[in-house]
């Protein structure tokens, strides 16, 4: 498990982390992938699309269910992980690393309502019982 101290999390089980000044990477959490099971297919936005914090930007489909993806941030999609589209199992194998989904150019700070790693862990624990 990578060091997640710089990651922030949503209550809808996405993570976000600043990759460069003004640019963040977004993915789904380890908890989310373990709940979903084997990911079969990802529906991701196109390059240049705008995403809005708290709204749907795509979907992840596993053997068990299809779940919507909600963006932790607002901004423009500047990269989409082509590798994960071709090999969705990367989301299961390395959700916080190689299984990243999109890279977004953001204006200003991250939304204040995102959770830090410890807060997300206790939220996810409570969520699974």
């Amino acid at each position: 498990m990578p060091d997640l101290s710089a990651y922030r999390f949503t209550k809808t089980h996405e993570w976000v982390h600043e990759a460069a000044p003004g640019e963040v990477v977004v993915g789904i959490t380890d908890h989310a992938q373990s709940q979903l099971g084997d990911v079969i297919f990802l529906e991701l936005p196109k390059l240049g699309a705008m995403v809005v914090a708290g709204t749907r930007f795509g979907a992840v489909e596993s053997v068990k269910a299809a779940s919507d993806l909600y963006s932790p941030v607002s901004g423009e999609v500047v990269a989409v992980n082509a590798e994960v589209s071709a090999s969705p199992e990367l989301v299961n194998q390395d959700p916080h690393g190689k299984g990243w989904l999109i890279r977004v150019r953001v204006a200003g700070d991250l939304p204040a309502d995102l959770l830090d790693s410890a807060a997300y862990d206790s939220f996810a624990q409570a969520d699974s019982h």
Binding site: G37, D38, I40, F41, E61, V63, A65, A66, E89
Partner: protein
């Protein structure tokens, strides 16, 4: 633990193996031990070990047992010689399916294996039908552990634990009593995966010993513990109906494509008159449909021909071996011919269409060995 959910004898064993436990039919059961895909592929290529102890077992004994079963189920139990197993359904008098089940015969006694979620309903129905027959039924579900070893390596693995039996000589849908890992078991050449394999019935007290010996002996042949998730994707590829999804009390076996287990020639049975009427014009047809590799149909998705809804998906998932989204479901009669171009609406979004041609069932057939 939620009230009313029962644990199987191997509950702690599943948890120790990392099984993700989910409530299923009143039992806490392992959905998977890490990856449904990995377990599915292991069963197709090597072997998988399933705990399916939630299934119900009901003994039917007494001089009138055969006559009672002939009346109760749709298939012809008189053809069931000792040592064989028979797949059948039992119906209400209107032809609605009470449950699908396996019937085993041992000389004059029988054992019925029923779905966990239907066990109580089945027992009540069987007791009602019992009037006038010199037979006894006994629910022995809680005393029996049922383990399934499935996959091309299954025979080799189970044989390595059995000195008193030549398991390869047990034919498909036959069974025999023997010792496996020193445990007295009913060894049945049956399964719900589309692969060769065995289902082993043993006393619940022997569950841990049987499970751990099979897992240990199987590891060198690539056997893995497999959960209900893989069981579901495997049975879907094999075209097996699942009670509660593909078949239920509102549907009849003929519309479900299970006409091969309905034997009117054997004489009267519960539902025989209704089924004879339905046979003349079944109200709907059961079909398989194959989608693309990125299109996953689900239970309840509507099936369209052109702009008109003509049916609904009852089972849908991704077929890991077939490499495509697979659906089974009902459509209007006359729309079931393989090659018929249908469409399935995926999710709630009306823009999410998948082209879904009708294909013959099963989706997957194991290679001849």
């Amino acid at each position: 633990m939620t009230g009313g959910i029962k644990n199987v004898a191997l509950d702690q064993v599943h948890r120790a193996l990392g099984g993700q436990m989910v409530p299923f039919a009143g039992y806490s059961m392992p959905l998977h031990y890490g990856s449904i895909r990995g377990e599915h592929v292991a069963v197709r290529e090597r072997a998988g070990l399933f705990d399916v102890s939630h299934m119900g077992e009901v003994n039917v004994t007494g001089p009138g047992a055969l006559d009672f079963l002939q009346r109760l189920v749709t298939n012809d139990v008189s053809k069931l010689t000792p040592g064989r197993a028979l797949y059948t359904v039992m119906c209400h008098s209107d032809g609605g399916i009470v449950d699908d089940l396996l019937v085993y015969r041992d000389q004059d006694d029988f054992m019925c294996v029923v779905n966990a979620a239907r066990r109580d309903v089945d027992l009540e129905w069987m007791r009602r039908c019992l009037a006038g027959y010199d037979a006894k039924i006994e629910d022995v579900s809680d005393k029996i552990v049922l383990l399934a070893v499935q996959g091309p390596q299954a025979t080799r693995i189970v044989q390595s634990l059995s000195r008193d039996q030549d398991l390869a000589s047990i034919r498909y849908y036959h069974h025999r009593f023997g010792q496996v890992a020193g445990v007295a078991v009913r060894v049945s050449r049956t399964g719900y995966t589309g692969e060769d394999g065995f289902e082993l019935y043993a006393s619940a007290g022997e569950a841990e010993r049987l499970w751990s010996e099979l897992l240990e002996a199987g590891t060198q042949h690539g056997l893995v513990a497999a959960g209900l998730g893989a069981r579901d994707t495997l049975r879907l590829e094999a075209g097996f109906r699942l009670y509660g999804q593909d078949i239920d009390e509102k549907g009849d076996p003929l519309s479900a494509g299970l006409g091969w287990v309905v034997k009117p020639a054997k004489g009267l049975f519960v539902g025989s008159e209704a089924l004879a009427a339905i046979a003349a014009a079944p109200p709907r047809a059961f079909i398989g449909m194959k989608l693309g590799p990125r299109e996953i149909p689900r239970h309840g998705h509507p099936i369209y021909q052109g702009s008109r809804q003509i049916g609904e998906v009852t089972s849908g998932s991704f077929g890991f071996t077939v490499g495509a989204g697979l659906a089974m479901g009902y459509v209007e009669p006359g729309k079931a011919e393989p090659g018929t171009e249908l469409r399935i609406q995926l999710r709630a979004d009306p823009q999410q269409w998948a082209v879904a041609p009708v294909v013959p069932l099963p989706f997957y057939k194991r290679p001849e060995s």
